[in-house]
């Protein structure tokens, strides 16, 4: 097991290096250098330009610049935002819990609804229930989530007035942020009204972001279940006279879950992609929203740092999923 873990960790090192190269290249491929951007429309005399280039270290060879960039990254220094002049790493750290909170509930929603839906479709194969689940999940899978989010707002917030339109919590609540997770912080403050407000703000973004993973999980569960239900041991369990639900839940589901767990883990990348759109629409103060603002205002340190950090998180999570998979399924470990 230890060897397996070591091999997997060694495999992601080149990927990390590649991501830093990409982030580094991002700044250097943008037309015009940072000094030019600083000078704006009026231009700058060559002497001052040369001095600034030297000051930023931009006149050094690219390899040296890259090495010093990696050095900075390893020290946790990702530069500072051009608009707020705050440290990029610190801004990311403050906003990240909001994204995690949203992504966590979206994934929870996707699993809690998608798993039973997939099982139902597999067990009731070729019935109306199966067609409904598969039809809905294909629709969910094809959904432009920014539009889906708008429809949800239009119906639940505007027409029915059930949920708030945007933000994480109503403005009148002032909760001390200790963990950064709104639900936990409001509970710790013992403010139930604030907790309810935070919860109601979470509902629509959760549904919007969770829809695509839900569709993926439902489809995957169905096909995995169908495969397992054909196995001899399932037939044997049935022949033994075990009740149907017991065969499905204990014998089939446990084995069908292995590929599903991988798929759930792989949703993290998808969730972060979706979070960019969902956060923009619901004005959710997370890293997706922040990154889009960075791109729109040409705040390159934010874009560079944001991409680097998000990629690092996705790689790490995928690695963990990979290892968990090895724990559940010994065949993978020794491959």
């Amino acid at each position: 097991m230890f060897g397996f873990v070591l091999r997997r960790v060694a495999l992601i090192v080149p990927t990390f290096v590649g991501v830093t190269l990409l982030a580094f290249a991002l700044i250097h491929l943008i037309p015009g250098d940072p000094v030019e951007n600083l000078s704006g429309e009026r231009g700058m005399d060559p002497e001052r330009r040369a001095r600034l280039l030297h000051e930023f270290g931009l006149d050094r060879p690219l390899a040296v610049q890259y090495a010093s960039y990696v050095g900075q990254v390893l020290r946790g220094d990702l530069g500072s935002s051009l608009t707020t002049h705050e440290s990029v790493a610190r801004e990311f750290a403050t906003l990240f819990p909001a994204t995690v909170e949203l992504a966590f509930f979206a994934l929870l929603f996707a699993v809690v609804v998608g798993l039973p839906a997939g099982i139902l479709a597999a067990v009731k194969r070729n019935t109306a229930a199966d067609y409904t689940v598969m039809g809905l999940s294909l629709t969910g899978y094809s959904m432009p989530i920014f539009w889906w989010a708008l429809l949800l707002i239009l119906f639940f917030s505007v027409q029915l007035g059930w949920t708030p339109v945007s933000g994480r919590i109503a403005v009148q609540y002032d909760v001390p942020m200790t963990t950064g997770f709104m639900l936990i912080d409001t509970l710790r403050a013992g403010d139930m009204a604030a907790f309810r407000s935070a919860l109601s703000h979470l509902i629509l973004p959760t549904i919007a972001l969770g829809t695509i993973p839900l569709a993926v999980i439902a489809r995957m569960t169905r096909s995995s279940m169908l495969e397992v239900l054909r196995e001899d041991y399932v037939r044997a369990a049935r022949a033994k006279g075990l009740p149907r639900w017991r065969v499905i839940v204990v014998h089939a589901l446990r084995n069908a879950l292995i590929p599903v767990i991988t798929v759930v883990g792989l949703q993290v990348g998808l969730l972060l992609s979706g979070a960019i759109l969902t956060e923009t629409i619901f004005s959710w103060p997370g890293v997706g929203n922040w990154l889009i603002h960075g791109v729109q205002s040409r705040d390159y340190p934010v874009v560079q740092g944001g991409i680097l950090l998000i990629a690092a998180i996705v790689i790490t999570v995928n690695l963990i999923v990979d290892m968990l998979y090895g724990v559940i399924n010994p065949r993978i470990r020794h491959a």
Binding site: P14, L21, G274, Q296, V303, A311
Partner: protein, 321 residues
Amino acid sequence: MRNRTADETQFMAEGDIASLDGGAAAIAHAEEPSPPSRMREFWRAYAQNRGALIGLCLVALLILLALGADFIAPDPPNEQYRTFTLAPPAWHADGTSRFLLGTDPVGRDILSRLIHGTRLSLLIGTISVAISLTLGAILGLVAGYFRGIVDTTIMRLMDVMLALPSLLLAIAVVAILGPGLVNAMYAIAIVLLPHYVRLARAAVIAEARREYVTSSRIAGAGALRLMFATILPNCAAPLIVQATLGFSNAILDAAALGFLGLGAQPPTPEWGSMLASALEFIQRAPWVVTFPGLAILITVLAFNLTGDGLRDALDPKLRRS
């Protein structure tokens, strides 16, 4: 397609040795004699799937709309009828039959803009999938054929690209190239690339050991001929399926980029940017937001249905279930 019978393989190998006219011609040749031709067989498997048929019909309809947009659309896409701003759809109490799906905030006919948007979306899909498929097939073939350091370099690079969430990678590319429709296409082509490379590489590695490749090699075929003429046509099936599904990804991502203001710029009638520019009117005139989104959904659904159908029909292993 990959579950070829032994006879066929041998037949093709002979064809290769005899005429050296390449794998593609040999396959075309092999198809004719066996009574239910492979095309027929494929179509029978495809037509069994009702969803796939619906998808194919929708795709055909969309292509028709895109090609004939100038004749079908009742109005030019950017014509502003200032007296009819935010007119509701025809079936609405205040609607007018002049504008079937209503008008947008500056009085442009939404139906006409949507029809012209079909052209843009299909164009974005075609171009980005074409770039991505070509480049991906070449890189995958090269990686799978030569292996070693070339393979490692290409695949590690693809791993990096896969590590980034797709929309994030597209945003990064657009941040470098600058916003716009053409750059969005490049961005999407780059995002789709790793999938084709991986598929092509896996297929090449599986095919390279087959007898027909060996015999072609013995007959003196060079690396280029082996890669492109002998092997490539035989690993087309997964690439075709992925290309169809790539269309739906391309259209979704293009719309998302347009929505974020990083793709097509107004007044281009691109669905995503149409949606974004009408956002502030969402409460007063929901139709300006509803219809472009519906157009995206239907188009993506059509390509997903077709792609799923193709996969089931081309992959006999999945056909059973």
